[in-house]
Symmetry: C4
Subunit: 265 residues, 4 copies
């Protein structure tokens, strides 16, 4: 009888923990979300600052403490999620399950590898912790609508990507032919020239690769202007898609016109 | 009786000053607005030119005169606003009240601090005067509509910001892993790499940080193209919001369709 | 009688010349337009190539011939326009009248000034001929629609300009405070810092002025992201305006709905 | 009789090959498309890597083998297309027919020219193979819609191009006048200055040509801000065109309103 009650209590506890961790409507759930977001932000900041030489030298021990504090916190969160999840395996293999695991695992592994392993592995593990920022995606409301807009425009965006790439490949090859033989050129290979073409068409324009010949300047000018006109198309496309989505939405919530039976007018 | 009349006269004066300063429909109010805008523009220009070494050396005394002229003008304006405002305290604590105070205060403080205080404080105070430009926001019509559009798209813009930041953090970390160990690299830390990612994704592309390895060029190309596609989304979002706003507006001003009783068709 | 006929003939000639020069529907008018466009393009190209040292040295005499050929052509065109225009004075003082005059005048003046005048005046006159390109604006169809879209969005574009400028002034001042005291800084004055801010916000990013401090990098990142979000607004504004224009247009051409008497549904 | 059957069999074979090569609905046709796309991608990659010195030195013989493998494959594809096409001449003279021919021809020609011909011709032929990427355009679905959007906005895009070019010519000339006489200037000629203007207006901003004088900075700032406002217009234009297209589309698929007989409401 006592055992039964205990099982029940555990169940209720499990239920309550689940509500706090997975839902955001209750005050406790909200608080949990906010604290978690702060922890993620601070731990990402700590990993970032670890790579700044002057900062690392000064606050080496503080960074180590912070690192272990957040690792233990995220481990606890991961275990709690596993425990109270109704389908633990499904959670563990889901995108956010993997991200949650990767948020704490690297720190433990570096501990075991410490002396023995090579520098490269440790470096990857240290940087993997930056992916904790992905945990945040969990908590951003409204991302849904934007994702839908992107997904619906998927086909057109793919075409657009393809078009830019093909244009950049052709333009890059032409630029390589024009500038490739000039002394001291930065157009040392076709991949480099395609890099130049993409950097120009998208209006980034670093300036690390620049033309030297008059013909190169002329072709670049044509290329930029053409690329500039291409901006207009994808913008229009996504807008159209979002509007279509809005129209459909309003269509579902209004009744049909009684005089003609048609929707959406 | 005479006193009463005087009070009345003061009240009428107060009323008239209030109309001139706070309203813009009357000719006097319009003139006041235009003169004030010119004064703001000229005083901001003066502070700007003060930092240009060659100009400062030549016109040192003229700049001092101009500075005090505008300070006294803005002080007078501030006091008049305080005096004729119906709720002086509310004005003084409002955004524009603080801006108005900050427009004249720094000059007086630098006078008192002259010899004693350190250079840093004086420098802040001198630069604070540049914020006079905010006084202009008061007088721009139509800003209301744009602000509304921005405020209504607030949630979506926040999501978009978050997405860019998360993308930049991940991309920056990957770039740091690729380029961080190359000799003479500019990717000296993760914050620097994130700076590179943001400068690239937003198509600014200063060119102070550039890749050196072939893999870095490849990843940068992918990153830029992805970032370029992201432009399309926020643009579409705000357009949609502005249109929704327009639709609602027209909805309020037209009657319901007599044949079906529905609005907006 | 013979005189009367002659007057009539002159009138008819005037009429015909007017049709050729000012209208574009007749075959002769179309031909005139095309020839003129080619002449403008070629003369602008000639002035451009005149400033390229290696080209000027080689083809000095050819350029001189081309210059005089086009000058005489444009002079003839200007005189014809003056002669056959119904209101010569109005044409001479109109925008395109002044442009037409400026297209031929500079060459004559440089002839008279040849030996005597200073280099600077001749240089201005030589470059003034580049403004011949404005003659082209006359012949571009469809420019009307775009101009209307711009004019209708005028108020909102002004607000947007103002907002960017104010933002750039504030951001530039902050950047000047942060970077102005660093050794070897490019932020030598507030105008220079505002130039940096505008180049960054508009995503141009030359890279001639770049930050050096960590704080500067952080503020620049914030500034760029904010500026990037601002792009979305003007785009949406003009789109909305163009659509409103389209809606009104279609409103004028369709009848009112007979069942409800309302337009535009 | 046997001969007749053979002819029939050939016909059926021709029919089947035609279905595989020209259509994409059947499983075999789909497989053919995917294999071809992979081949195109890999062959383009091979030509690209050939220009990277370090790669060429290491894998010289592998690249030669790959080159001949793809050339023979594309030759076979070209011959098959010619053979089974109903109108071989029309295919051979079509855009994709020429592209298909150019995909295999250059390799054969370089074989014959090997020792004798100059370097320049071989170089062009080698680079011509990069145009194989155009074969891909054949297989991109959805490109149709975007092309239509662009074609429908053709007139307005032309106007926009013209406007940018005219603006850049004027701005470039002014910049040349301001910066052309400064020592160590990059504004060595008007074409160079126009290049600067276009790079600035389109927000590319390489930074290879930058201003040095205060006046130049001021004019550049004005130029950039104006160019920035121009982005808004073409974007709005294409969006409007795409929407008009959508409206018309829905018009065709819905019946007229029975109460008023009008379409599209």
């Amino acid at each position: 009888m006592a055992e039964d009650e205990q099982t029940k209590q555990v169940k209720t506890l499990k239920q309550r923990v689940w509500e706090i961790i997975f839902e955001a409507e209750t005050p406790a759930g909200k608080l949990f979300d906010i604290v978690l977001l702060c922890f993620i932000g601070m731990s990402v900041l700590a990993v970032m600052l670890e790579t700044v030489a002057e900062f690392k030298n000064k606050y080496s021990s503080e960074l180590l403490f912070v690192e272990w504090f957040f690792t233990i916190m995220f481990s606890a969160e991961y275990l709690l999620r596993l425990w109270c999840s109704r389908k633990p395996l499904r959670y563990a293999t889901s995108f956010f399950g993997v991200v949650d695991l990767l948020s704490c695992l690297p720190t433990y592994i570096t501990l075991f590898l410490a002396g023995t392993s090579g520098f490269a592995v440790v470096r990857v593990l240290r940087l993997l912790r930056m992916f904790r920022v992905l945990k945040m995606a969990h908590h951003v409301r409204g991302a849904h609508v934007i994702m839908q807009g992107l997904v619906r425009s998927r086909a057109k965006i793919t075409v657009f990507f393809f078009a830019i790439l093909m244009f950049a490949v052709i333009a890059g090859t032409v630029m390589y032919y024009i500038e490739g033989n000039v002394e001291g050129t930065s157009f040392t290979s076709i991949p480099m020239s395609i890099y130049y073409a993409i950097v120009s068409i998208t209006t980034v324009g670093y300036g690390d690769v620049v033309v030297q010949t008059n013909l190169g300047i002329f072709v670049t000018t044509i290329m930029i202007l053409t690329g500039y006109a291409v901006i207009a198309v994808p913008t229009g496309i996504v807008t159209t898609e979002l509007m279509r989505g809005k129209d459909n939405e309003s269509d579902h919530t209004t009744d049909a016109c009684p005089s003609c039976g048609a929707h959406g007018h």
